[in-house]
């Protein structure tokens, strides 16, 4: 097996790809939780109207990298970050930027479906209330639920608890909740890992519909999922050479190219299932 350190993180072309249509330019130089060096040297441009996937073995920092994009990591004690995340012409890690404001423009869907213990309607309206939405809440809730392909299943029971839904429905409810405020970008952290294959397939179809309206970045441990839905894919790996477990980006490419002819040996070995 190729030594992790021997593999350069650069030189696979993605540096040059930055530019047109990039909504978020995420460059993580170093990321620490306390003393733990979690991620280094990861540069991922996220392009408008596409799905960008992060793949890699467990513990490679792909979720951590995704959570940098809406500053969710700020909630973790001891989080330190160097690098930048450019969004709307600003570094969201800039001094004057409020992480709360960042999260209002960049939605997130989590690994475990996490609807609030309140009605379906209030779940979807939650973000609208936070943003003091003045328009027609009913209409926007319906629009979000339709967008999440859940409307037909719940339109007659909007006052039922969000927890009364099945796992797949709950996850689509969470997607509806996230898109209700029309965020520009939607982050999805292994959104299907708690779901059965049929529910997974529905979410995947949904992602393909949603990418027209929302730029999507997804973390997945399912290679086929990345191959099916993503336009761009970043492969991350763990570097254990210095005694730690530091994740870094091995290769970032258009999905088809990454899967068919990866530039790095490490990527090919991973895709062929030689390690996980």
């Amino acid at each position: 097996m190729v030594s992790a350190t021997a593999t350069a993180t650069n030189g696979n072309g993605h540096e040059n790809g930055v530019g047109d249509g990039v909504v978020i330019d995420c460059r993580i130089e170093n990321l620490y939780y306390g003393d733990f060096h979690a991620v280094r040297d990861t540069h991922v441009p996220i392009r408008k109207g596409t799905i960008t996937a992060f793949i890699g073995p467990s513990g490679c920092g792909k979720s951590t990298a995704l959570r940098c994009v809406n500053r969710m990591n700020d909630l973790v004690r001891g989080f330190r970050f160097s690098g930048h995340v450019h969004f709307r012409g600003q570094d969201i890690y800039g001094r004057s930027i409020d992480p709360v404001a960042v999260r209002r423009s960049i939605g997130m869907v989590f690994q475990q479906p996490n609807p609030f213990a309140m009605s379906i309607y209030r779940n979807v309206a939650f973000g609208l209330r936070l943003n003091r939405f003045k328009g027609d809440v009913d209409e926007q809730v319906e629009r979000a639920l339709r967008g999440a392909a859940l409307w037909d299943e719940v339109k007659d029971k909007l006052s039922a608890s969000g927890l009364s839904l099945s796992g797949g429905q709950q996850q689509r409810l969470c997607i509806a909740r996230a898109i209700a405020t029309e965020p520009e970008v939607l982050l999805m952290d292994e959104p299907c890992s708690a779901l059965d294959p049929i529910a997974t397939r529905r979410i995947e179809e949904l992602m393909l519909e949603l990418k027209e309206r929302f730029t999507i970045a997804i973390v997945t441990h399912n290679l086929q999922q990345a191959a099916r839905v993503a336009d761009w894919t970043g492969f991350m790996m763990v570097d254990t050479s210095r005694g730690g477990r530091t994740g870094y980006l091995v290769e970032f490419e258009e999905t088809k190219k990454l899967f068919d002819e990866p530039a790095e040996d490490l990527t090919r070995e991973y895709l062929q299932g030689e390690f996980s």
Binding site: N70, M72, L75, V100, A101, V102, R103, R104, S105, G107, M108, F110, Q112, N114, P115, F116, A117, M118, F126, G127, R129, L130, N131, S161, L163, S164, C174, R177, A178, T181
Partner: protein
């Protein structure tokens, strides 16, 4: 089984007769102890009830609506005490409940480093370890002198309100309620903190992910999700406040009247019992037993309601896991 390959040694064996006996005996013993507590409760209720029977026959429902307590004329009524008990407990609950929930929020929502949070939590729970009589003394020597100034001011400027229409008499409803609120605070804080800690982290994460501030997350998600547990905590604290005796006997003023003024003296069922038993004759003891039964009934009902709410709260949480 003849086809099975022969084995040299087998390690597994069935439990011996002795092990089975110990197992059964242990199970039987735990049953006995568990039921013993229930039998004890029933026995206490029965004893108080049977001692109260003569007074119950004598005074009937008038006992609960009567307003005089005069052992010489053998006239007994506990309405002022019932009102005083509920009034002081409710005021204590409003103050202690608000403080307790606030403490629970600070000690459960990551405002403090974990070590400090743990330390503070234990200190708050230590409030429950202070003996009631010490609270009473603190009330007499600290709370009453402290509230005297503000009480005078309130009486002078807002005396038209029924809550302030008498002068502070020294011991009375207000000092009793204030001390009682500190006494119920640890119950409210500890149980509602448990309820808040039980709110799954993923829900807070969801709220933060939507761009909620910390307060929006707490008010919009954590408190509603934990609401049943918090409400149960408040009801259980109410049950404690109703039965609290020593501090109230020292602070409430022991006047068999009830007024809405916070500054007037009053009485509660528990302090009535504490103050009158030592010198009570046979007839008065019967009446006091009746009063004890009334107090026990009120406290039991409140506690049962509180426990039912807690059960409902935990079953509601189950759907979130």
């Amino acid at each position: 089984m003849s086809s099975a390959p022969p084995r040299a040694v087998t390690i597994s064996r069935p439990p011996s007769a002795r092990e089975i006996f110990v197992n059964r005996a242990f199970r039987g013993l735990t049953h006995v102890f568990a039921w013993a507590t229930i039998v004890l409760l029933a026995y206490i209720l029965f004893e108080i009830g049977s001692l109260a029977v003569p007074a119950m026959n004598e005074y009937g429902a008038d006992f609960v609506t009567g307003t005089t307590w005069d052992a010489n004329r053998e006239e007994f009524g506990v309405l002022p005490e019932i009102m005083g008990t509920l009034y002081t407990s409710l005021i204590a609950l409003v103050i202690g409940g608000a403080l307790g929930v606030a403490v629970a929020i600070v000690l459960s929502q990551g405002f403090l480093p974990p070590v400090l949070e743990h330390l503070m939590k234990n200190i708050v729970e230590l409030l429950a370890a202070i003996p009631s009589v010490v609270y009473g003394l603190w009330g007499i020597f600290v709370v009453i002198p402290t509230v005297r100034g503000p009480a005078e001011w309130l009486h002078e400027h807002l005396g038209f309100l029924p809550f302030f229409d008498t002068r502070l008499s020294g011991p009375g409803i207000l000092p009793a309620s204030l001390v009682l609120s500190i006494m119920v605070l640890p119950t409210v804080a500890a149980i509602s903190r448990e309820a808040m800690v039980a709110v799954p982290h993923k829900l807070r994460e969801a709220a933060f992910g939507l761009g909620a501030t910390r307060w929006e997350t707490i008010l919009g998600v954590v408190l509603p999700t934990a609401s049943a547990g918090i409400f149960g905590a408040v009801v259980l604290a109410f049950g404690r406040a109703l039965g609290e005796t020593m501090a109230l006997a020292m602070l409430v003023g022991n006047a068999n009247v009830f007024g809405w003024s916070l500054f007037s003296p009053g009485n509660t069922l528990a302090s009535l019992l504490a103050n009158h038993f030592p010198e009570a004759g046979r007839v008065e003891v019967g009446a006091l037993m009746y009063a004890a039964l009334v107090l026990t009934a009120i406290t039991l009902i409140v506690n049962v309601i509180g426990s039912l709410i807690m059960i409902r709260a935990s079953s509601k949480m189950q759907g979130l896991r």
